[in-house]
Symmetry: C2
Subunit: 437 residues, 2 copies
């Protein structure tokens, strides 16, 4: 007697049915194609690393979420993002790499999140980063939004907004206003959308901000308008703080280059309130919102950082990058019915032999279709015709071709569109030509 174990998947681990997996893969392929088109080189680092390497920086709140791996005596863990492995990689192979080092990586990462709908413990991140040796030009800060733009266009979205800011503007402002608890104030300001102005004001007071500085802060935060209007208003502020001025000038240059890269003005917007994390980003920061679905949060975020790998190498390696959390994005888009792909063209044709005597002819026909580059298969089992068509439906084949004695005798095949039911008679060569058109 075999002892049956109930087959089940761990909670928080996405596992899709094949038709959904086709959609997921189409999204991933689209992202990858865009990353490659922008000249990013591929990387694929191990999912497991030494714990001391992963935690070199101190994993912070992520520490509690780390999956530990046990085998032999080495203290190992599963990566919780793709940035730490990149930092390790760049430090480790520094002398063999050319800078700017432009790499993309698409891979699974692991975090022991609290179990709740739409939160995943195993999920794909799709990252690009451009790493400089000592310094890295501002043009790179502008190229990143153009990658986001191109990628989300190809994912089938028109109404999305890339939101940009420069952390130096906020930091410089805080200097000018004698706000010392930069981190605390940034964290509070970051919450304005969530908790509202009054709550933010109260928190700021608690953090030791003077009433005057709070007034100035809000005056600043209320700078809105078109990109050019915001840039113009920023120039009228007379803060002399050099960091503020640097941030303002950088933002202006970045906006100019973003336009050069051909990003539509409707798809990017300066927002002086976004800060995007607290201790990591140091210049330009990005978020991406699907318009009408802002509750999803940012679907693609990132920014510029001063030093990627300071915990692994004694060299300054500044960079700029973004990440798309694909697993969560796919889940959200699916829930909102916003996936802009279908699976219809995955399986182009299924060839159905009437019975065993027609298998050879079916094999020959399917070979011709495959050789032309299309995905196709033969239905191989004995079954009633109705069952065979049901199968063709279930795998979402675009066309079905039934082969019997007549078809073989005449070398003409009836091509049935599985969606419309429309049928047309073709020779094998005509079928391939028809598919190619």
């Amino acid at each position: 007697m075999i002892n049956i174990v109930t087959p089940s998947t761990l909670p928080g681990f996405m596992e899709l049915m094949p038709q959904d997996q086709i959609l997921f893969n189409k999204m991933m392929d689209t992202i990858r194609k865009n990353y490659e088109r922008f000249g990013f080189l591929p990387l694929d680092t191990p999912i497991i690393e030494k714990s001391e390497v992963l935690k070199a920086k101190g994993a912070g709140e992520t520490e509690q979420q780390i999956y530990k791996v046990v085998k032999g005596h080495t203290d190992m863990s599963m990566r919780f993002d793709l940035t730490v492995p990149l930092a390790k990689y760049v430090a480790q192979y520094y002398s063999q790499l050319s800078f700017p080092f432009r790499r993309y990586q698409i891979g699974k990462v692991y975090r022991g999140e609290r179990n709740q709908r739409g939160r995943f413990r195993e999920f794909y991140q799709c990252d690009i980063d451009i790493i400089g040796d000592g310094s890295i030009g501002l043009i790179n800060d502008a190229e990143i939004p153009s990658v986001i733009y191109s990628t989300f266009k190809d994912l089938g979205f028109d109404s999305f907004k890339i939101v940009i800011n420069n952390r130096k503007i906020l930091n410089g402002l805080f200097n000018s206003l004698n706000i010392e608890d930069t981190v605390g104030v940034l964290r509070t300001v970051d919450k304005i959308e969530k908790i509202g102005r009054d709550a933010v004001e109260a928190e700021l007071t608690e953090l030791g901000c003077s009433p005057e500085s709070i007034v100035e802060l809000f005056k600043f935060l209320e700078i809105v308008g078109t990109n050019d209007e915001i840039l113009a208003k920023l120039k009228t502020l007379d803060y002399k703080d050099p960091v503020f001025i640097e941030g303002r000038d950088e933002l202006e240059t970045v906006v100019k280059y973003i336009r050069d890269f051909g990003v539509d003005e409707a798809n990017f917007q300066i927002d002086l309130t976004i800060a995007r994390g607290l201790d990591y980003y140091t210049g330009t920061v990005y978020e991406t919102m699907i318009e009408g679905y802002e509750s999803m949060g940012s679907v693609c975020s990132g920014g510029r950082y001063d030093d990627l790998a300071e915990f692994y190498i004694n060299r300054k390696l500044p960079g700029v990058g973004i990440s798309i959390g694909l697993t969560r994005l796919f889940y959200q888009l699916k829930e909102a019915n916003l996936i802009n792909f279908d699976t219809k063209d995955y399986t182009k044709a299924i060839v159905i032999p009437m019975d065993e005597a027609h298998i050879e002819a079916s094999i020959e026909l399917v070979a011709k279709i495959r050789n032309a580059g299309f995905n196709a298969l033969v239905y191989t089992e004995n079954a009633k015709l109705g069952k065979k068509f049901k199968y063709a439906d279930s795998i979402n084949a675009e066309y079905a071709i039934v082969i019997g004695d007549n078809e073989i005798a005449n070398a003409r095949y009836s091509l049935r569109n599985m969606e419309t039911g429309e049928q047309n008679e073709f020779s094998a060569e005509e079928i391939v030509d028809y598919f190619k058109r």
Copy 2:
């Protein structure tokens, strides 16, 4: 002071430089494209599963190699192959799947192998399987070699041999010869290439085979020749055992269909001595050898099994499948200098602005090249021209385009082939047309 942690990668975990990663990805893409063209649906199961699920069958010798995962209270492990997760998946979603269920999966698996050159603890498997509900036609056994054939052709190989056999022939023979320790004798016979005839004979005697049965066994094992010769010789053997006869007939049918699928006779060969594992496969079995590099061992193996998921579901789900161990294969091909791809066409062009004044024009040109579908980038940093060209070389860009005042004034650009040094002057549109040709 920051505490520097030495960046290092765990032994047995492959981590490639970008140019090698491009090659690796080309191989993986080629395999995937072939699997899809044959109508296999994609699957992506979690890397971590409940230990009781992974070990339902009893992991056998693999047990010692399993990576355990610790987070919370669930007993979890990392998958050691893609077959057990497939069995779990098919049992779990049985009622939602259509059979024959044709799936491919390409993903990383984990085994704590002894640390030695060319052995990996994290490695990619690229699997296809066709699973039937109750039964699955013999035509599927023939289609699998046609997938191997198409895949290895596309990987750039001509001289490879798909070796096939049918386990029932061996099993039936053993019945006829009253050999009881089937498993032991199969294991011994399997070693004939490694340890030679005399050692096998001695072992067989130890296993209780009579001198007569050993003579018969060797007579059988010496059946060689063309596929048709072997099939003909098999027919002259007068064993009446029904399993033997079934295996012989199956092999004959499979060979006929393999030919129908268009597999070149030079690329597949019956070999009655291959047994391919001991307790899993029950019918057709496959190995794939690169000719002249037989010491690599089989680079693609598999076969037919009676029951995929007996430990998870009370239904008979027979199937047939193969696996390519891509990480090891890549390592071996690289060592033998047998990779049939290059990285030249990955980065089509790098646009190099003479200095900052030429960045905008460079951005505009690179956008045109990208929009035409080619991978391209701008060199963004201030540097001497020599350094910029060195960079173009290091990323293996196919073409470099330097942009200065003259180029902008005339809207003509000098396209430099980085390999030959050849230069031609083109307009932006002509460059795109040239790339397309």
